[in-house]
């Protein structure tokens, strides 16, 4: 039996509308009017114990809403969620015991107090047995360097230190399921990679199920075996990371501005092999995508400059937004089937 089962899950927010004017305000007191916002729209997926799933989508796609539904914070508008056989909203307490939750933007650490106080309190809240508590602390102490900040008030921690303490706090009760909502937001490269490393380790050693929302592509690349992608509340891809290789692989986009309209005839010469792909060429603008690990940026630029009258260029990392756009637009992405239950391929 899968650990998490989500079927036809829908969440509609009722957003109160503010009517303009004085009478409008008075009226809204008596008869408030609402606008319905469908944040999650009929999603289905199942997750097995021990999986590491990247739950991705652009801003506002409905990721956080899904996490809240899985945690039992919100009740679904329709459809159902089952986590370990329980309805997480109705059986909130029992569900809460076996999940750990990390919000990138919200802290659960006690702001004015030394880090240790948060852990004392959480130990009580989750009724963690003495032995587990010690083991976990020793474990985190090593990976997250918690000992170094143990007596430091939280408000004096650096962002990276705080995020590590945050993770340790969320895991102190050894939850079998861990949800992370944008945990690497705002962190530097080093801090990010440490967190990824730890998540991988934890999954390997303890078999923890990890569900990670992010819009950093590297997070999913390095941590997750499986991707669930949503867009405007709908599931658009579910499957192995490999299925998205074509788009994910090309992590860089080079936009060239030409002296004169070279026309589509010249541009393809740059993108001769698999390493560099032509995305767009219209008039004076040419867009190329390439994988940095296979060909270096200077090489691509040199190649382009050799055949095209380049006046200016911009180099940037491919962001999730454009990946989703490509997937959503059906740009040659096949349904993934890494887990034998690929769904994906949302309506074009």
């Amino acid at each position: 039996m899968p650990l998490i089962e989500v079927s036809r899950l829908t969440k509609v927010y009722q957003v109160p509308l503010r009517q303009p004017g004085f009478t409008g305000a008075a009226l809204s007191l008596v008869r408030p009017s609402y606008k319905a916002v469908t944040a999650v729209d009929g999603i289905d997926f199942t997750i097995q114990a021990g999986e590491m799933v990247g739950y991705i989508g652009p801003n506002g796609a409905g990721k956080s809403t899904t996490i809240k539904l899985l945690c039992g914070v919100l009740a679904p508008t329709s459809g159902s969620v089952s986590v370990g056989g329980l309805d997480p909203h109705r059986r909130r307490m029992e569900n809460a015991r076996r999940i750990g939750l990390v919000y990138g933007q919200r802290s659960q650490l006690l702001w004015d107090l030394p880090v240790r106080e948060t852990f004392y309190l959480l130990r009580r809240i989750y009724q963690v047995p003495e032995s587990t508590y010690r083991e976990n602390l020793a474990d985190f102490g090593r990976t997250f360097e918690i000992d170094a900040v143990w007596d430091t008030p939280v408000r004096l921690l650096s962002l990276g230190q705080r995020m590590r303490a945050e993770l340790a706090a969320a895991l102190i009760h050894s939850p079998p399921i861990v949800y992370l909502d944008e945990p690497t937001i705002g962190l530097d490269v080093l801090a990010k990679s440490r967190i990824r490393e730890f998540l991988r380790q934890m999954n390997r050693r303890r078999g923890t199920t990890v569900i990670l929302t992010t819009h950093d592509l590297r997070d999913v690349e390095e941590v997750c075996d499986r991707i669930i992608m949503i867009h405007q509340g709908r599931l658009v891809y579910d499957g192995a990371l490999e299925g998205l290789r074509g788009t994910f692989g090309e992590r860089c986009t080079l936009t060239l501005e030409l002296e004169e309209a070279a026309g589509g005839a010249v541009a393809p010469e740059v993108a001769l092999d698999d390493d560099v792909r032509l995305i767009k060429a219209d008039g004076k603008r040419v867009e190329l995508a390439f994988d940095r690990r296979r060909i270096s940026a200077p090489e691509v630029i040199a190649r382009a400059c050799a055949v095209l009258p380049v006046r200016d260029l911009v180099l940037r990392e491919t962001d999730l937004e454009s990946v989703v756009k490509q997937v959503y637009g059906g740009n040659g992405i096949e349904n993934g089937n890494g887990n034998g239950e690929g769904r994906g391929g949302g309506e074009p």
Binding site: S64, A75, R97, Y103, Q108, L113, E117, R124
Partner: protein, 280 residues
Amino acid sequence: MRTFGSYVGLYLCYLRVNWLALMAYPTEFWGNNLGNVAGNLLGIAAVGIVFGHVRAIGGWSFDQVLFLYALAMVARSLWHLFMVNCLNLPYYVQRGTLDRLMVRPVNILFQVYADYLDNDDWGEAVIGLVVLGTLSVRLGLVGVGPEVGLARSLTNVLWLAVIALSGTAIFAAIHLAANTTSFWLVQAGAVSQLVWQVDGFSRYPLNVYSRPLRFVLSWLLPFGFINFYPAHLFFGPSGVPEGGGLLWVARLTPLVAAAAFGLAYRFWQAGLDHYQGAGS
């Protein structure tokens, strides 16, 4: 399932972290309590100033009015010292921080109360207790001598404790209900602000108000059960303006308190089901 004992342990742990955090700002602690003491002495002084000119208000003597006043102070301060954070409920709802409490295996309201305590109301608690104690002796409710009697003293002390706790529950119920509106209203702080105004009614005996007001303050916002009705338990039929007729109402106080809190709690649960979190 969590046992009652584990809640006690958890609560002590919460007390510890809250008080540690408050101790990080010792000047605030002293400043707030100094202001609090002054404010409460002023309230008592205002009663005293008026009684400098009259012998009774609504048939109640100075000592009796002060007794009522002190009873409300004790209940209000107990509520304030341990349950004041429900006033922040609108912020929890609007900013979505209630999420954080909802993913923990602990009763949510318990967490709201324990999440933040302030230490600003010790002045009211101490002054209330001192005044209540002094007046209990002066009014002959409690005493060591033969004129009161040990049995009567003990009964009165017991009733006082029950009434104070019932009053705390009534304050808790009213403020919980008022702040639970924040699950539906965007500017819910306002309802709570209004409740504070109504609290002003509880400072004087209910029989000075008109019938409709009295009804509201007894059965809708039961401030009357914090001090006015319970007073009838102590002063005897000849000591109160309306005679012994209200004694049976006074005995209902613990029930009214339990019912009020029960209702408020149901309302709160309905609010939780309506909770939508905050947009990211």
